[in-house]
Amino acid sequence: MALRFEVLGRFNRARAAQLTLPHFVCQTPLFMPVGTQGTIKGLTNDQLEEIGCQIILGNTYHLALRPTSELIDELGGLHKFMKWPRAMLTDSGGFQMVSLLHLADITEKGVTFQSPVDGKPMLLTPEESIQIQNRIGADIIMALDDVVKTTITGPRIEEAMYRTLRWIDRCISAHKRPNEQNLFGIVQGGLDPVLRDICVRGLVERNLPGYAIGGLAGGEDKDSFWRVVAQCTAALPEDKPRYVMGVGYPLDIVVCSALGADMYDCVYPTRTARFGTALVPEGVLKLKHQVMACDTRPIDPACGCMVCKNFSRAYIHCLVTKDAMGSQLLSYHNLYYMMKLSRDLHSSIVYGKFPEFVCTFLQKMFPEGEVPEWVCNAMEVAGIDISSCCSPVSSSYGLNLDEKAHAV
């Protein structure tokens, strides 16, 4: 184990902690921007540090293709290659193979996929995934899991969950750098509480440095989503970090943090930036919209980021989707927003102001009190009274607005 996890403050299930990794001492809850190919969309390392980015995520699949893990290893690891001084996490590569490639076939041996280089079938085994990640050298590496769509039902879910459990032992024994890199296991089991329970128990028995909740954020309904998170966080050990994979909507992060999760990652803030959308406390702001052409206010007048301090919505409007600078500036703002959200979650929990923070957050996002029912339910389980910001309107109305706010 190459990490230390110290809980600094709690509010019911929510916790704020200090996570000490080989390259950086992080404060949780935290959001990890996705830097797929060893860089985050046009931002320099200095800029990432300036906005408070603590861990960045690299995609094993992409890095293994280019520049290859052997080259990264030869040049001293990914930290040195991209000169990133803080912490890093790599995924297992399995998800990309399933999501990006057709004809991916998962067997007991591993994931067979068509090589994007020469079209030949290739096999990624749990051992190989770990070997590649050992070469890349991130602070946190992820076990290869059997990923299935959450919207699938039936025996495939069960098969995937058991296979994930069998593969974790192969990952553990293949892991050559346990004193420098932390191997996280991934809880699978779809939306089935019984399967999730078996998986959590199985993983906890292995006493890993940290645990991820996988197989979510894939189009399942919000009510199932938070219930799985709540079930897993309740069953995972108190003294280990918990990472909900693929979660990036600010509202989801607030809910998951209330339920006791610590880490998140998603391409959403940078991807939506490329489409001209800014994250703001009220939800989202579409800079492409014609009304922005004469709006001289900053994106978010309350935001302290370089973009909001310097530029008007009107100027960003004439850049977005036309010039590279548009997505560069919006990515900067959106990541700043996510980092600020992480810091606010952390400090509100530490200072015992978490319920106030949640209420203020919800009030801004749902000024009419139309807080979605799933959020109300999750907050009830989290023991956070949000009645002050909920109006007694019908829940379906609230859900619609929520969907609208999150439309990419």
Binding site: T39, K41, T44, P67
Partner: protein, 412 residues
């Protein structure tokens, strides 16, 4: 604005000081090329990493804002500096940007010049242009010009001179006391027309001159004569700016004729091409004395970061370079970023190339001050030719002759 010539070399080349708003710079100097007021890939917080004050003079094209944002909104924001949050930078407005907004001579008429822009071909009348200029409040703005390519008839060329002078008067009549006016001088490749236009503009009350009509198909050999004719007919105490002289050799031609400010797209072109400038920038003395022909490895003018030789190269672009990119990153990393089409590659290359090209201008100024500009030019150009010869012998063709490179650049 205050401008004073401080030193001459070789009769025409000159070093001056330009005081403009918050900055005081030495000329000859480079205007950083921008897209909508920001360097193409460098966000405003990174601009401060470039050497000041010479990086604080920025070119922009008012035509970039034709469809995106109205003059009324820009006025409300408070002008271009305010809109970009760049309060200690000075902006120079030039309609043509040599990249996306190009003069289209066959669309121009007596009412105004026509440009090919990202939003189609647009005719810009002086009244429209001045409305944009008034809203943007640049430190310097150039009057509208009817720029024609080198191959048009003398008749068309003559009408371009008449129109340009007429629009100069119209722009000045319409101006609302914002910024310094630089009068446009055209005349294509015809010496008599160049002289006539320069004389006409010289008698008008402008703060400086913009010499247009270059980089539009004229021969590189004819340029010195044309530039000399123009500069000979302009008052010596006012600054001269030009667009379209991009390559180092072209800049040297301009400096030799007495040009003070350059609106060059060279950095942009080589940056998007994946190149880094690497020619040596140590003092002029070593530049003149220590060059060893055949020493290609360290003396290349520029390197192509896409080349596979840099895959595992953990050295900076230029050893000892103090730019952000060289202080932090390796050739191997930039090679990877280019391979995977990541935008950070351009950001890092533009930072380095800008700093390096500013260094080239510094070298030019030092050589003029030392009275050795001509030797410096000869040496610089000879180096590049030697390189080509030795490169050709070695079977490598990374440093084409300046002429071929010029052709290549126009293809980009």
């Amino acid at each position: 604005m205050k401008f004073a010539v401080k030193a001459w070399s070789n009769g025409r080349a000159r070093v001056g000081t330009l005081q403009l708003g918050s900055i005081e710079i030495e000329t000859p100097s480079l205007l950083l090329s921008t897209q909508k007021g920001l360097p193409h890939f460098i966000s405003p917080d990174l601009l401060s990493s470039l050497p000041s004050p010479n990086s604080r003079l920025l070119q922009f094209s008012p035509l970039h804002f034709l469809d995106g944002i109205s003059p009324k909104t820009i006025s409300k924001i408070g002008g271009i500096n305010q809109m970009l949050g760049l309060h200690d930078h000075e902006f120079v407005a030039i309609a043509r940007d040599s990249l996306q907004c190009l003069p289209s001579h066959d669309g121009s008429n007596k009412f105004g010049p026509s440009f090919e822009t990202p939003c189609g071909r647009r005719l810009i009348k002086p009244v429209e242009y001045m409305e944009i200029i008034s809203s943007m409040k640049p430190s310097i703005w150039v009057t509208l010009a009817d720029e024609v390519p080198a191959w048009v008839s003398d008749k068309r060329n003559a009408s371009s001179v008449d129109r340009t002078v007429k629009w100069l008067d119209e722009c000045i009549a319409l101006r609302q006391m914002v910024g310094e006016v630089f009068g446009a001088v055209v005349g294509g490749s015809n010496e008599q027309l160049r002289q006539h236009c320069a004389k006409e503009v010289a008698i008008r009350g402008v703060s400086g001159y913009w010499i247009g009509g270059f980089g539009l198909g004229e021969s590189m050999d004819k340029r010195p004569t044309l530039l000399n004719v123009v500069c000979d007919n302009l008052p010596k105490e006012k600054p001269r700016l030009t667009s379209g002289l991009d390559l180092p050799e072209e800049v040297l031609q301009g400096v030799a004729a007495g040009i003070d400010l350059f609106d060059s797209k060279y950095i942009h072109h080589i940056t998007v091409g994946g190149f880094a400038l690497t020619f040596p920038l140590d003092g002029i003395e070593s530049k003149i004395s220590t060059f060893q022909p055949g020493d290609i490895g360290s003396e290349q003018v520029k390197i192509n970061l896409r080349a596979t030789v840099y895959r595992k190269d953990t050295t900076p672009l230029v050893d000892g370079c103090s730019c952000y990119t060289c202080k932090n990153h390796t050739k191997a990393y930039i090679n990877h970023l280019l391979n995977v089409h990541e935008m950070l590659a351009q950001t890092l290359l533009e930072l380095h190339n800008t700093q390096h090209y500013l260094g080239f201008f510094h070298l030019i100024r030092e050589s003029i001050k030392a009275g050795k500009f001509e030797r410096f030019c000869q040496r610089f150009i000879a180096d590049r030719r030697d390189l080509h010869v030795s490169a050709a012998h070695a079977g490598v063709s990374q440093s084409p002759l300046p002429k071929q490179e010029a052709d290549y650049m126009t293809l980009l």
